[in-house]
Structures are given as C-alpha cells and as structure tokens.
C-alpha cells in the first residue's frame, strides 16, 4: 500500500518536473501525452488503492521530513475510506480535465507551462487528500494555492487575469494563517501534528481549546472554500482557462476546506460553538451566493457563484453533524459542476469567448451534444428528481431538519430558500443559453473539437448517478456510500428520521426545486411575450447589486487594499526615511550643523560625524541596558 500511495503522488509530481525540464524540447504530442499519463497513472493507483484498501484505515510514513528535538514531521499518509474516495474522485476528474485540456489548449503555444502547473496541482491536491501530518498536508494546501494563482493568471499579458490570480492567492492565504496557528496549537497540546493521532486523542482537549481550534480550522477552510467573507476571489478566478475553473475552482481545491473539516471532524465536533459557526457561515454564504448568481450575466460567473453557494451546503451539513451527507454532496457536486464548467468551456470556445448569457440563446441547434450534457448537469445541480443530485440534497436537508438545536430551524429555512434559488438560477442560465431565440453572440459558431465533448459523458453519467450510490432503502437503495463511509470517525450512517416525515420532506424538496424550474421558464423561457416581462425588467433592475456580489469586493478594496497601499507609502517616506533615518543621521551630524553628509565626507570631518553617531549609539545601548534592567 505504501508503494501504491507513493506512486500515486509521484506520478503527477514527475509529470510536472518533466514538463518543467523537458516539456519544451519534445514534440507537442509527447508533452500532452506525458501530462495525461502522469495523471491517468495516478488514477490507476488511486483505483488500486481503493480496491486493495477496502474498509481499511491505516497510517503510514514515506520518509522523515523535518526532525528537530520533539518536533517531528514525516511525509506520511492516513488512508481510510474517506481519503480513498476523495483520491479516486480527484484523480478521475483530473484525468478527464487533462484530456479535455488537450483540445482546449490546442491553439495555445504555452502548453508546457499549463500542463506543468496542472500536474503540480494534482500532486498538491493528492497531498491534501492523503496526508496524515498536518504540516505535510500544508504542503499541498499552499501548493494548490500557488497552482491556482499561477493558472488563474495563466494568460498573464492581460493585467486583470494576473490580478485575479494574485487576489486568489492573497485571500486564501489569509485563511492559511489560521491553518498555521492551528498547527502550532495542536503541537503544543498534543506534541504531535498527525490527524490520526489527534483524532484518537480528542478526549484530552478542553472545551475552550476545542472551540478555538474548531474556529481556526473553520477560518482556514473558509479561505480555501471561498465562504463569506473570503468569497470575493472565486468569481474573479474565472479569468483563468475554463478547464482550470472546472478542476480547481469547482471540483477539487475549493472542496479542500470542506475536506479538512471532515478530516478533523472529531476536533470540530467537540465544540458546539464551532459547529454552529460552521453551519451559520454555510447558510449565509449559500444564500448570498445564490442571490448573487441570479444577477450574473457571464456564464462562468453564474457557475462560480453557484459553486460558492453549493460549498455553503457542504458546510451546513458538517455543522449539522452529517459528514456522510456532506461528503456525498462534495463528490456528486464535483462531477456535475465540473461537467457544467467544461460545457461552458465548449460554448465559449464555439462563441469566441463571448460569455454573456443574454447574448446567447438557441444554442441547442448548433451544439446538440453540449445541450444534452449541459442539461444533465443542470438537472443534477438544480436537484430535480429523479437525478442523484436530488437524493443527495434531500438527505442533506433532512439531516438539517432533524438536528434538535434551535439554530437549525433557521438554517433549514435558509437552506430551503437557497435550494429554490439554485434551481431558479440554474435554469435561468439553461434557458438563456439554449432556449431563447438566437442571440447576438451566435454569429460565427466555431466547431468544437470532438475531444472536448466526448470526454464529458463519464462526468454526465456520474453527475446524475453518483447520488444513487446513497439511495435510501425507502427508494429501493441500500445507502451504499453511507455504509462505506460509516467507519470514519464521527459519521452517522442513517439520519434516523421518521419514514413518513422522510417521504413528506422529499416531496416538499422536489416541489420546491421544480418550482424553481417553472419560475425560470416563465421568466427566461423561449416564449418572451409572457405577462412576466414586467417582472423580468423589475428583476433586472434589482439584480444590479447581485451582479456586483453585493459590493463586497468594493468594500475590500476601499477599506483594506487601498489604505494598505497608501499607508505603505506614508510609512516609507515619513516614518522610515524622515523620522528614523533622519533622526539617526541627524544625531550623527550634530544638531546645529545641518549640512549634508557628503560635505562632511569632503571636508574631512568624518570624525565628528562618527563621534556623534558613536555617542548616539552609546546612549541607545544604555537605554537598552536600562530597559533590560527593569525586566531582570
């Protein structure tokens, strides 16, 4: 198992190295093949590990990385059903996206840099997935942040793309600071920073420490998973190539935050405060992002806000104590959301990168394959029965409702509202793109390379079907996924609600989701001459704020970024050069003589200067001595 896991990590890493060192000197085809093989190989090993490691839970060490005194960090792995499943998903989606990228990037000459970063990303993501030691996990954690930065700004000549990358790196790193502090606290409390050890010894944590740690972990997860208030980077991240958005900003990296919380759930769940905070953040974000998605005009931005909103659901599920629900949601979301992004990539490719959905319309006739694929994704995202997405979301909503805490009745209402909004914005997007009369952007439709559409079918099938893996007995399933994940610490296999209630809520959820589709049809459907036109116009007016993400970005720029830049200038010129430096130099010049140092140099009065500086420092040293004296 050690070898298999090591190879799973080494393949993408070797791929990245190959691209960096040799990529430019081999034929394009070879470079592309190498990139896909590196990731495909990782998928093969992930599958092997999945099968061989069925229902086992082991921690193993690759090599000792840092060892000083009692601070010992190894490159290691904690392999259990959770990481097995995550690794399988990550490598599978990555493989598909690498193959898709061959088609997507076929006109770009800088493909080696692209594949190098992409392979490196897969490596980093697998490190997050497998690592046992939190500091080793941090390698992946920051590694994906770097790759995301480099790939968002991949088309660096355009300033706004580079800016978006930088913003993503900065905001996620604000979250990473909390990760670092949590590592420090874990080390002080446990003398150990491995997940398996910490989870096995949570009994030693006092309530206060558990709350602090839980909140720190939440904050680090919020950075990576773009939860409020650290959301603003994700919509901007759409400046990157679309396959990157699909892989990093929909399926994998952004779910790393959720994964971290599941991985360390035994710590988080110790503190009711932290759990309530997780659920609260998730709810507010889910609603905020769903509303913002309704206002977007750019196809990728709709999907980006949708991702933020769906990540909110995963947070809610964790807060409600339903790990399996959260993980199931994470998996099926990874499939259908990357599918939707990749479809968007096809559409943008065909329409010469014109992304305004209200300039599209009637695309069904031009790209029937994409239409069906997109429909599959939209149905799953909107949680329309009988797709798997529906059953997954149903379980999630049920577990919220079933939570006895008072807070969760509010959370439940929020989640329901967001659920309605989800299907509304999803089908707003769908109808605008495919159903409306042909729009302005559809003048010259480029053919889409076959490789870009044909590789998407597995995603479509999994997007719809992944949810069936966890079909409850009521619907004729056997909750396979729940059974598989039941052994991870803190998992609750069955929600344990009244069966009658279960049916009722399921019907209610289905009705709500379908209502979203109906409303979307009435507002944005093909028949424009509806009585709803007035409403549409009203809505469009209101959506100005939503389009801007409710001005959160503006607040950041004016309250933090600009003052930081201004103050840096002031600090430099006034504090450092005028006050400090000026003060010391003046001390050396003696006060009455305000002549330039250069003149001192030329008139040979260096000795005065030196003498005074010496005196000044002597005074300073005595000052030091005095201050230490008090602390002695």
């Amino acid at each position: 198992m050690r070898v298999i896991l090591a190879l799973m990590l080494l393949f993408p890493l070797a791929g990245a190295l190959f691209q960096a060192l040799k990529g430019r000197s081999v034929a394009r085809r070879v470079s592309e093949m190498a990139a896909c093989l590196a990731v495909g190989g990782a998928f093969v090993f992930a599958s092997t590990a999945f099968i061989l490691g069925w229902n086992t839970s082991i921690s193993l060490t690759f090599f000792e990385w840092i060892a000083v005194h009692n601070f010992r960090v190894a490159a290691d792995a904690f392999f259990n059903p959770l990481s097995a499943l995550m690794a399988l998903m990550v490598t599978f989606v990555s493989t598909i996206i690498h193959i898709y990228s061959v088609g997507y990037m076929h006109e770009d000459r800088d493909y080696t840099r692209y594949f190098c970063y992409l392979n490196l990303f897969v490596f980093s993501m697998l490190v997050i997935t497998l690592a046992d030691n939190l500091i080793f996990m941090f390698v992946g954690w920051e590694g994906v942040g770097f790759c995301s930065y480099a790939l968002i700004g991949f088309w660096y000549p355009e300033e706004f793309r580079a800016n978006a990358g930088r913003k993503a790196f900065l905001l996620t790193r604000i979250g990473d600071v909390a990760f670092g502090i949590a590592i420090g606290l874990f080390f002080v409390r446990f003398n150990n920073t491995t997940i398996s050890f910490i989870n096995a010894h949570t009994g030693e944590l006092q309530a206060g420490a558990a709350t602090v740690l839980g909140l720190l972990l939440l904050w680090s997860a919020m950075g990576k998973s773009a939860q409020l208030p650290l959301t603003v980077w994700l919509p901007d991240a759409m400046a990157g190539p679309t396959p990157v958005s699909a892989l990093i900003h929909a399926a994998t990296m952004v779910t790393a935050g959720v994964y971290l919380l599941i991985r360390l759930y035994p710590v988080v769940s110790l503190s009711p405060t932290a759990m309530a905070a997780v659920a609260g953040v998730g709810t507010v974000t889910a609603l905020y992002a769903a509303l913002s998605a309704l206002g977007q005009r750019d196809i990728k931005k709709v999907l980006a806000y949708s991702t933020i909103s769906q990540l909110g659901y995963m947070f809610i599920a964790i807060g409600a104590g339903d790990l399996i629900g959260s993980m199931a949601f994470l998996l099926s979301h990874a499939f259908y959301k990357s599918l939707l992004f990749l479809c968007a990539g096809c559409i943008l490719h065909a329409l010469h990168d014109k992304g305004d959905i209200f300039m599209m319309g009637g695309l069904k006739a031009y790209m029937p394959k994409v239409f069906w694929l997109f429909l599959a994704g939209a149905l799953s995202l909107g949680a329309i029965p009988p797709t798997g997405g529906f059953f997954i979301k149903d379980r999630l909503l049920l577990s919220i409702m079933n939570n006895p805490e008072d807070l969760f009745s509010i959370v439940w209402i929020g989640a329901l509202a967001a659920s309605f909004l989800t299907s509304l914005y999803t089908f707003r997007l769908f109808f605008a793109v495919f159903a409306k009369p042909v729009g302005l952007a559809v003048e010259e439709v480029r053919p889409i390379p076959r490789i870009m559409t044909d590789t998407l079918w597995p995603l479509a099938i999994l997007g719809i079907a992944a949810g069936y893996l966890n079909l409850s007995p009521e619907w004729g399933g056997n909750e396979w996924l729940a059974g598989y994940l039941a052994n991870i610490q803190g998992a609750v296999e069955h929600i344990g609600a009244d069966p009658g209630l279960e049916t009722q809520t399921a019907l209610f959820d289905a009705a709500l989701a379908s209502a979203g589709v109906v409303v979307a049809y009435m507002l944005y459907g093909p028949r424009e001459s509806f009585a709803f036109r007035q409403l549409v116009e009203l809505f469009q007016a209101a959506s100005g704020a939503a389009l801007e993400g409710f001005y959160l970005n503006w607040i950041y720029t004016t309250v933090i970024a600009r003052p930081y830049r201004r103050l840096a200038e002031l600090l430099w010129v006034y504090a450092d050069e005028k006050m400090l430096d000026g003060g010391i130099v003046a001390c050396g010049r003696t006060l009455p003589e305000i002549a330039s140092v250069l003149r001192f140099w030329t008139t040979g009065r260096i000795s005065t200067y030196l003498g005074m500086l010496f005196l000044g420092f002597a005074v300073l040293a005595c000052g030091f001595a005095l201050s230490f004296y008090l602390a002695f």
Binding site: Y156, P157, L571, L580
Partner: protein
C-alpha cells in the same frame, strides 16, 4: 585546515592585486581560488563530520599568539559554523561569476576586496577568541566599504559612508565592552583571556553584564539589521554592485545573527533573558514594518532589501525564543535567506544588466521575453514567501511552531507575516513578469550559460533543503543543544 580555509581566499586576494592589469586571468584565478575553497570546505564533510571529540566541536585549532595579552589564535568548527562557511564559500564563488560582466573597471582591485571579504567572513564564523573575532569582524567591513564606494551606483558615496558609520559606531562600542569584559575577568581571576570558552560562565555583576551585553547586542543588531537601526541597509543595497549585495545580504547580515547566537547570548545569559521581550518585539516590528514598506518600493533592489529586513526579523524571533526548535529554525533560516535573497539580488542584477533600470514602473511582461529567467524568478520569489516544499518554509515553521509553547501571542502574530510577505512579493512578481511590456528595451536575451551556472546551484539548494532538510538539520543539532542547553530557558520547558 581551518586556517587554510580562511587564508586561501586572502592569498587569492593578493594574487588578484598582482594580476590587476590582466582582468581575464584575474577573473579565472579568483574563480578557481573560490572554487578550491568551496571544495576544501566540502571535503571536510568526508572527514567524518559527525564524530566530534570535543563536545559538539568538530575541529579546533589553537595557537599562542600574543601571549602577554592573553590573545590566542583559536578557531573552532561545529555544525553551525560548517554550514555558514559552506554558504560563504558558495556565495563567494558565485559572486565572482556574477561580477564577470558587470565589473569592468579596476578588476584586480575588485577581486582583491571580494576575496578579502570572504576571508573575513570565514574568520568571523570560525573564531573562538573574542579578540580574533573582533579583528575578522572589522576585516569584513573595510572591503565592503570600497566595493560599494568604488563600484556602486550613483549615490554610492553617501550609502557607503552611512554603512561604515553605522557599523563602526556599533563595533567600537563592542570593542569597549569587550575590553571591559576582559579586564573584569582578568581582575577577578588574575588570568587575562579573550577565549570564548573561558569567558563563558564568568559571573558578572548585574549592571556590568547588562551594559556589556547591550553594547554587544547593539553592534550585532546593526549588522542584522534589527528595527530601528536598519536604515543603512536599503541605501547600501541599492547602491552596491550585485556581488556586493549578494555578500551583504547573504553573509554579512548572517554574521550579526551568528554572533548573537555564538557570543552575546551564551556570554551574558541573564541579560539575554531580560532582553527577550524587547528582541521579540523588535523582530515582530521588523517583520511587519519592513514588509509593509517593501510594498511601497519602486526600485526592485530596494524592495528586496526591505524584504531582507523582514526576514531577518523572523530570525531574530527564532533566536530570542531560544529553544532548540526555534534556534534550529533560525540557523536554517540564515542559510535559506542567504540562498534566496542572494538569488533575488542576482536576478535583479541580471535584469538591470539588460534593461539598465530597476524601476518597477518600467518592467512588465518579462515572462514573454525571458521565460527561463522568469521561471527562476518565480521559484525564488515563492521560496521567499515560504511556500511549503521550498527551503524557507522549513525554517519558518520551525521558528513559528517552536515559539508557540512559550510565546503563543508572538507566534500567532508572526504567522500573520505570511500574508504581508505575500503581498509585496506578488506585487514584485506581477509588475516584473506579468502584464504587457511597459517599455521597449533594445536587447533582451534569456539567461546565458554563465548565468545558469549561478542560478542552478541556488535553485537546487532551494529544492533540496525544502524537500529533504534532514542532513542540514542533523548537522546543527549537536551544537545547538549544547549552546541552548546552557543558555536561557531549557528545552525541558516544552511540553
């Protein structure tokens, strides 16, 4: 052996002076001398570095010198000084390569100063007699004065005078304190000596210890440099030629931190303990203040110079917390900073040679013109921000996590340094590499073979230390345990 290592560069320096009229031969000669020195240092590790007979010391040399004054010529090599002289030899050789095209006037003289400085730095890292240490301390200063003053940029005179004034004022104060210590001990025991080993553990009166310690501290703090006596550094770096910046950032700053660890703390443990809160505060202020100011810089070299101050702030915190984890982190970080910051200065220098400017406002879009150069630039910038998997991260995490047990508040604040560091370095990367080119430069060429020979060893060091720091950390464990064990705060304080 240690003597050979120190004096080989000095011999080379004299040879360079003799070859002053043949610049080409002079360059090759200097390069081979510094490579020979590097090989000598490397060969030490084959001689069984792990088996120290005298405690954690691997090699000791001791000869009578000025017997009547109690001054001895004594050198000592342990794991810490081994790593630092290795770095010195490496950066020494690279500095010759860096100056190959940049220095065209008075080539012999330049190499004389360069090699003499290398000898001085080696001496500082090896001396165990305080008088000898002081001599080497001053020896490294004078060549730098001339290197900046003669081969520097437009404002070089002012910068170099300021640099020397700060250094000399600090070291004169140290000299006074040194002599005071010498007399106090001689007076009390009847045996006058400058030996580090004999002076360690000598009980001083409270006031005397504090005063002498403060003088040492100030001299070292100026060199590190610690906020608020850092203001000489940005000017010195901005005006220095690339090799000067490499030696300054890579080595001279390290001598300050090294001296703090080797001399100031072990000699005056009580005073050192009292100073911990002040030092940690100064380190934290340096980290944030310098990072913040770095963000406003337009001159690339000045930006890197301020980043140097910020990084040294973290090293100071690691030393001040004073347990084996943080001190290991601090020593490793000295090496890392030597590698990464030198590389940044070299890259800026290379760009300057092509564009004749270091103004960020004129850069942009370099990636399109020099992809290999840019990849190196990105790698070293990422190393500088402490991206895990690269060298700086190891040192930083050791300092930060190690500090948690005793100074949780400071450690938490210092973690925030991750963000402010990222802010200015991403700005540097973006303004330089990304965007559309903002100016037309007549000739842009990607890195040459000579430049690759400079950058590849540094890049390898970044990756190797990042992925597998074990051997480096093992090397410093022995000496660190013996130094820290006898100092303020034992490791037993950790949980």
């Amino acid at each position: 052996m240690l003597t050979v290592i120190i004096f080989l560069p000095l011999a080379g320096a004299l040879a360079a002076l003799a070859l002053w009229h043949k610049p080409k031969i002079c360059r090759w000669m200097s390069f081979s001398v510094s490579i020979a020195d590097l090989l000598l240092v490397a060969s030490l590790s084959f001689g069984g570095l792990r088996t120290g007979s005298a405690g954690s010391w691997l090699l000791l040399e001791d000869h009578a010198w000025m017997e009547s004054l109690g001054v001895r010529y004594s050198l000592g090599l342990d794991g810490i000084s081994y790593l630092l002289i290795f770095l010195t030899a490496l950066l020494g050789a690279l500095s010759v390569l860096v100056s190959w095209k940049q220095i065209e006037e008075k080539v012999g003289l330049f190499h004389f100063f360069l090699l003499a400085m290398q000898a001085g730095v080696m001496g500082v890292f090896l001396a165990t007699d305080l008088f000898l240490f002081y001599l080497f301390w001053e020896l490294q200063l004078i060549p730098m004065f001339f290197i900046i003053g003669i081969w520097g940029h437009a404002g070089r005179i002012f910068a170099t005078v300021k640099f020397v004034m700060f250094s000399i004022a600090g070291s004169l104060l140290m000299l006074v304190a040194l002599v005071a210590l010498y007399i106090l001990r001689g007076h009390a025991t009847g045996h006058y000596t400058f030996s580090l080993f004999m002076l360690t553990g000598f009980p001083l009166s409270k006031t005397a210890e504090l005063l002498i310690f403060s003088a040492f501290l100030l001299a070292f703090a100026i060199k590190i440099p610690v906020f608020p006596v850092h203001t000489w550094l940005p000017d010195a770096h901005t005006e220095a030629p690339t090799a000067g910046s490499v030696i300054l950032a890579g080595l001279l700053l390290k001598t300050g931190a090294y001296a703090l660890l080797r001399f100031a703390f072990p000699l005056f443990p009580n005073a050192a303990r009292a100073s911990v809160p002040v030092l940690i505060t100064a380190g934290l202020i340096g980290l944030f203040y310098a990072s913040w100011i770095a963000f406003a810089q337009r001159d690339m070299k000045r930006l890197v110079a301020y980043s140097s101050i910020a990084h040294m702030g973290l090293i100071l915190i690691g030393l001040a917390v004073w347990n084996s984890i943080t001190v290991s982190g601090a020593v490793l970080q000295m090496i890392n900073h030597g590698i990464t910051t030198s590389a940044m200065f070299i890259l800026v220098g290379m760009l300057d040679e092509r564009t004749r400017t270091r103004d960020l406002a004129e850069m942009g879009g370099i990636w399109g013109q020099m992809p290999i150069f840019s990849a190196f630039f990105l790698l070293f910038a990422m190393s500088s921000i402490g991206l895990p998997g690269l060298n700086n991260f190891i040192g930083e995490i050791l300092i930060l996590v190690g500090a948690f047990a005793t100074h949780p508040g400071a450690a938490m604040i210092a973690f925030g340094g991750m963000v402010v560091t990222l802010v200015y370095l991403l700005r540097l990367v973006q303004e330089t590499l990304y965007g559309e080119p903002r100016s037309e430069f007549p000739a842009m060429w990607d890195i040459t073979g000579r430049e690759a020979a400079i950058l590849v060893p540094l890049a390898l060091a970044v990756l190797v230390i990042g992925f597998y720091p074990g051997p480096v950390l093992d090397l410093m464990q022995g000496p660190i345990n013996s130094i820290v064990g006898g100092g303020i705060g034992r490791i037993a304080a950790l949980p």
